[in-house]
């Protein structure tokens, strides 16, 4: 039983190690022009941790960089498709086939293609970045967990839930009875349950995984505007596609509004249309800002050690217990925030679905 569970993990780790040896090999031969005494830059340090990257940086010790290179997938109008490992960039210092990681605005941190005549263009970039890999990991973890739970339900049909299944069931029932039912109503809520559950557990899993600082976790997935944007986009799509007659009537011909607000200049419809779009936008920004802010604060407390350490090593040691306490406090707060934000996103989505499917005004 134990062996059967361990084998895939060993396989997984082996693949990771083989993958990362390329990184090692290149790292050791590297010759950076680093300043002799590198100043600690808390701003850069934090930004690096909350931002996306083409490689998964694990640790840096003196000149030695341990990072896992990730595949870069590019399509350029000028040179076609390119697929290669990000190790070719040598941690952002090298140029490979005219591509490099831009160090200046407006494409700072993104891959750009330098054409021969000195102009710089941005190719279509479908690289498996750190956040993409973290999303994949979370998708695999979620599929594995919930399909296992579903199997257990089928195996113990009609019996009381036990163990992990029981824990998950509490959350599922919470989403069903305290989020979906009151927000959407008894008639339509069942239709939205799969989406709401997936949304909740995806956000929660990524929030929590972002708090674990060990590979393959610790990426700032739900604090990335692209991820929250896609989640909000899904909510917008579901809302729009399930909107009934009343929903659209409220937008284009809101009842109880003077006619001159609709004709000849359709002021109210335009405002309502904006309202329709701002709802998901707010969802997107709220999740992004909350998680990013949490990471920034936690990393900021953590940076205090090095800021004081760069003044005097003894001061760094003296401050560290206090900052560790602060960081732990922030970590606990972040766990709370992880649940709250997942809940808020799901609840608001459910409320929007409820508006879209409401039979009558005010119900």
């Amino acid at each position: 039983m134990i062996k059967r569970k361990v084998v895939p993990w060993i396989g997984f780790l082996t693949v990771l190690l083989l993958w990362s040896t390329e990184g090692f090999a290149i790292s050791e031969n590297e010759n950076h022009e680093l300043p002799a005494e590198e100043e600690f830059q808390p701003g850069e340090f934090i930004m690096e941790h909350i931002g996306d990257a083409y490689e998964w940086h694990i640790l840096t010790y003196k000149d030695f960089h341990l990072s896992i290179p990730l595949p870069v997938i590019l399509y350029s109008k000028y040179s076609g498709f390119h697929v290669f490992m990000s190790a070719r960039f040598g941690h952002g210092h090298n140029t490979w086939k005219g591509f490099r990681i831009s160090q200046e605005e407006p494409h700072r941190g993104k891959i750009v293609e330098g054409l021969g005549n000195g102009t710089v263009v941005k190719p279509l970039d479908l690289s498996i970045t750190k956040n993409v890999l973290a999303v994949f990991v979370s998708v695999i973890v979620l599929l594995w967990l919930f399909i296992a739970v579903a199997k257990k339900y089928e195996r113990t049909r009609g019996k009381a839930p036990t163990g992990f299944q029981n824990m998950i069931e509490t959350v599922i029932l919470f989403i069903r009875d305290d989020v979906a039912r009151p927000s959407i109503g008894e008639r339509h809520y069942e239709r939205f349950m799969p989406y709401l559950l997936t949304l909740f557990f995806f956000i929660l899993a990524n929030n929590l995984m972002g708090l674990i600082p060990v590979f393959p976790f610790g990426a700032n997935v739900t604090g990335n505007i692209a991820v929250t944007g896609i989640l909000a986009f899904f909510t917008l799509m579901v809302t729009t596609l399930s909107g009934n007659r009343h929903y659209w009537k409220d937008i284009f011909n809101a009842p109880g509004v003077p006619w001159w607000l609709k004709v000849p200049i359709p002021m109210m419809p335009v405002i309502e249309l904006f309202g329709m779009l701002t709802k998901p936008l707010v969802l997107m920004v709220r999740l992004f800002a909350n998680i990013t802010a949490g990471h920034i604060i936690a990393m900021g407390f953590f940076s205090l050690i090095f800021i004081f350490g760069s003044m005097d090593p003894a001061l760094g040691w003296a401050v560290s217990p206090l900052t560790v306490v602060f960081t732990i406090f922030m970590g606990i707060l972040e766990i709370l925030v992880a649940f709250i934000q997942a809940y808020v996103f799901t609840l608001l989505s459910a409320l929007y679905f409820g508006m879209a499917t409401a039979e009558q005004h005010g119900t």
Partner: protein
């Protein structure tokens, strides 16, 4: 500005992964889980309703029982009372009948005695007549020679008659 500038790769892969996650979880996880939860809730509700119904049924049966027992008690009382009444009535009737019977018997006895007496009287009359005739015959046969002897004869004759 890097922070709020979404990466195209991330947008694309996120769209794909979340879409796949939604489909797979919806089909292989949420559907069976939600169905199992609903089934279990239905089973529990049904069991509770059944229990409630059974309890009501039990209460009704007990009430019925009590009713039957009470009814039986009342019936028993009535039967006993009726039995007692019948008993007294029968006894009274029996007594009456016995009295009547006795009276009838007495009457009959009296009648018989009367008859008997009459017949005896008749007999006596006949005897007396017959004896008188006999006596007269004897007297006539003796030829009445002696007055004294005649008297004695008559006396003995009468004595004989008396004896009879």
């Amino acid at each position: 500005m890097e922070l709020i500038n979404p990466g195209t790769g991330l947008v694309f892969w996120m769209l794909v992964s979340f879409g796949i996650l939604l489909l797979l979880l919806g089909k292989f996880a949420w559907k069976p889980i939600l169905r199992a939860l609903k089934e279990r809730e239905d089973t529990i509700n049904e069991a509770l309703e059944n229990a409630e119904r059974t309890r009501e049924e039990m209460a009704r049966i007990r009430a019925d029982q009590d009713e039957i027992i009470r009814h039986t008690k009342v019936e028993r009382e009535t039967i006993l009372r009726e039995a007692r009444e019948i008993k007294t009535q029968i006894m009274m009737e029996a007594r009456e009948k016995a009295g009547e019977e006795a009276e009838k018997l007495m009457k009959e006895a009296r009648l018989t005695i009367e008859n008997q007496k009459n017949r005896v009287l008749q007999d006596i009359e006949e005897q007396i007549t017959r004896l008188s005739v006999e006596i007269a015959e004897k007297v006539l046969r003796q030829n009445l020679d002696n007055k004294e002897k005649q008297k004695e004869l008559i006396r003995s004759l009468i004595k004989d008659v008396k004896m009879n």
